[in-house]
């Protein structure tokens, strides 16, 4: 029983991360109808930015609220910028081209980032080695949130840590915020208009380019936040981390119905729990098959996802 509880907690913690990444996927897909394959890798870049900032701050100043906020802010800002650049220079020129073209571009960016970060590049600036690219080996992610045990049932049988609860609350909070943004604000209305038909939206005076760029920046900074929470959870960071988390988050978004915000959260939590149970009760090497198996079943039986609406194809 205790074991089951602990599995549920682990699964929810993993699902929370997928959820945050999936929100970014869903937003971008909603607006552009583009599977932003590079989303997970943007997340990875965000984690490395956080790592660098934490490193510069030094071990002693970590753990304080100020340093946490600074790390999150720096990482989210860097990712917003990266998202903006990718949209501006890689996706925008292809907006009128077939969707496959943009997908191939996205895959290309994903590759360039995840394998580019596996290179070792260091320069010597006045006697100190400055690492430009981190290399392929995993690094320990510093404890930027001091771990505190919040709940301990039955002498270490079930343990909940502060960061798991914080992550979960952040995910719920961001989802509510996003829902508000999309359905209650002017910007959200513009987003929905662009999503519906960006040519008509442009005719109606909506600054389509700006709305899309903003969506990308928002999605990318969400990814950065998710990435940091992920790195805090698993205490390590490595360049390929984005690839699989990105794919799984995409699966979560599809399960929930892509473009649907609460759906992404439900899909992600379901996926996280499912993976946890598969690994915990059967064999760990099936983990990666779970997500893709889920994806295929959903796409074949209910391509619009659990909460999505069927859209007739325009011919």
């Amino acid at each position: 029983m205790y074991g089951f509880l602990q599995h549920v907690i682990n699964g929810l913690a993993a699902g929370t991360i997928y959820a945050l990444v999936a929100l970014g996927y869903t937003m971008v897909y909603g607006v552009l109808k583009l599977i932003n394959f590079a989303h997970g890798d943007v997340m990875m870049v965000g984690v490395y930015v956080g790592y660098a900032v934490a490193f510069l701050l030094g071990r002693d100043s970590l753990g304080s609220t100020g340093s946490v906020l600074l790390i999150f802010a720096a990482s989210m800002a860097a990712c917003a910028l990266l998202g903006f650049l990718i949209e501006r220079f890689a996706y925008r020129p292809l907006r009128e081209k077939p969707r496959l073209t943009a997908l191939i571009t996205a895959i290309g960016i994903s590759f360039a980032l995840s394998y580019g970060f596996q290179l070792d590049a260091q320069v010597n600036v006045r006697g100190t080695q400055v690492t430009l690219l981190p290399g392929a080996a995993a690094r320990a992610f510093p404890e930027i949130i001091t771990p505190v045990e919040w709940l301990n049932i039955g002498d270490g049988e079930v343990v909940i840590w502060n960061r798991q609860v914080i992550s979960f609350l952040i995910a719920i909070g961001l989802m509510v915020g996003l829902q508000y943004l999309v359905f209650r604000t002017r910007f959200g209305r513009a987003m929905r208009a662009v999503s519906f038909d960006h040519r008509v939206a442009a005719l109606l005076g909506i600054p389509v380019d700006r709305v899309i760029a903003m969506t990308f920046m928002l999605g990318s900074s969400l990814a950065a936040a998710a990435g940091l929470l992920y790195a805090i959870k698993d205490t390590s960071v490595q360049p390929l981390m984005g690839l699989y988390v990105g794919l799984k988050a995409f699966v979560a978004a599809v399960i929930g119905g892509i473009g649907h915000v609460p759906g992404a959260l439900v899909g992600a939590l379901a996926l996280g729990l499912c993976e946890e149970f598969v690994v915990g009760y059967t064999n760990s090497s099936w983990r990666d098959a779970v997500a893709f198996g889920f994806l295929i079943v959903v796409l074949l039986l209910r391509p619009e996802g659990l909460f999505g609406r069927v859209q007739a194809e325009k011919v």
């Binding site: 890689a90 020129p93 081209k97 571009t105 895959i107 290309g108 360039a112 090497s285 098959a289």
Partner: protein
């Protein structure tokens, strides 16, 4: 019948001669390169049948390669202790090898059929993700099969692959791709690529054609997988991952979606380039060979950037859907349907 066998006979003769020359002069390194290049050509040309001619974007080619690779390797490993008594050992091995490659290809084709039938109803980007998913699932299943060595894979696979064998298959797939693209069957594929809805309206059984194209493509992926493991002498599930699929995709996209010679040219170029650069850096780079070591690492990010740049500047690829010689032959070449 004779018309279609002549080129094959010529190819066999030429390849045999090449193999004899390579063996006599002990050009081991050239042989290794030639095998690598040939395997890339098979992969690229076969993927081009799906991604180029039919316009369906598959990014799970490595999965089918894995099916063929494992089937063929398991077969040769089981047969390694036996030999056909009426043949000399080396020859008997090669007979087994051809048999194993055919069985491996057939297994991959079957996998292609099973995957293709349900998923080819999906379109565009969703299809891409589903093929990726299937590729990964195939890998995980292999990883969980103790009889296939699990994650550790099969070691000690016999090193049967020869240059002549690789290029024989490369020749077959190129010939088939040409014949296919000019046949009525091929025209149906082109129609699906240009406009699936219109093709369906014209009475083309789109799903049927797509599945058949998928099966043919998977067959050759399986053969390439068998050749690959018998060259590398090890079959590990980790090798047949998403990255390998992407390498092939890069070749097809760079060569031009739909151009057989384009895909083959890109495959040759992109396989030889890292080797060439490595040798170059060994001789002119820094003494410790650090540049040469970087070649393999830099390859993948550069492939990524290459995809982006090609899409931005020339989305149809370098050759588009033309063949390499179309520029010169265009005025008179009017393909006659078989």
């Amino acid at each position: 019948m004779l018309r279609s066998l002549t080129p094959v006979a010529i190819a066999i003769a030429v390849l045999a001669l090449v193999q004899v020359l390579l063996n006599t002069f002990e050009m081991e390194f050239v042989s290794v390169l030639a095998m690598k290049v040939g395997i890339s050509v098979i992969l690229a040309v076969s993927l081009n049948i799906i991604n180029g001619m039919t316009g369906q974007f598959s990014i799970g080619h490595a999965g089918f390669m894995a099916v063929g690779a494992y089937t063929a390797s398991a077969l040769t490993l089981t047969l390694a202790d036996y030999r056909l008594s009426f043949l000399p050992p080396a020859l008997s091995d090669q007979v087994y090898f051809v048999l194993a490659l055919l069985v491996g290809g057939a297994a991959a084709a079957l996998a292609g059929f099973l995957v293709g039938l349900p998923s080819l109803r999906l379109r565009g980007d969703y299809l891409a993700i589903v093929t990726l998913g299937f590729g990964e699932i195939i890998r995980v299943v292999v990883q969980n099969s103790p009889s296939l060595g699990g994650s550790l894979g099969l070691n000690n696979v016999p090193g049967y692959t020869t240059v002549a064998m690789v290029w024989f298959w490369a020749f077959v797939v190129v010939l088939l791709a040409f014949r296919l693209s000019q046949s009525p069957h091929g025209r149906a594929l082109w129609a699906i690529r240009e406009d699936e809805v219109a093709a369906e309206a014209m009475g083309v059984d789109t799903t049927g054609y797509k599945v058949r194209a998928f099966v043919v493509s998977s067959f050759f992926a399986g053969v390439a997988g068998g050749l690959f493991t018998h060259y590398l002498r090890i079959a590990t599930p980790a090798k047949f991952d998403f990255m390998l699929s992407m390498e092939v995709v890069v070749m097809v996209v760079a060569g031009g979606l739909g151009s057989t010679t384009g895909a083959a040219t890109a495959a040759i170029f992109l396989t030889l380039l890292p080797e060439g650069l490595r040798t170059l850096f060994r001789s002119v780079g820094p003494e410790d060979g650090s540049w040469a070591d970087k070649v393999d690492q830099v390859r993948m990010p550069i492939y990524g950037l290459l995809l982006v740049i090609i899409m931005l500047t020339r989305p149809q690829g370098i050759f588009g859907r033309h063949e390499v010689w179309d520029r010169w032959l265009k005025p008179k070449k009017k393909p006659v349907p078989a």
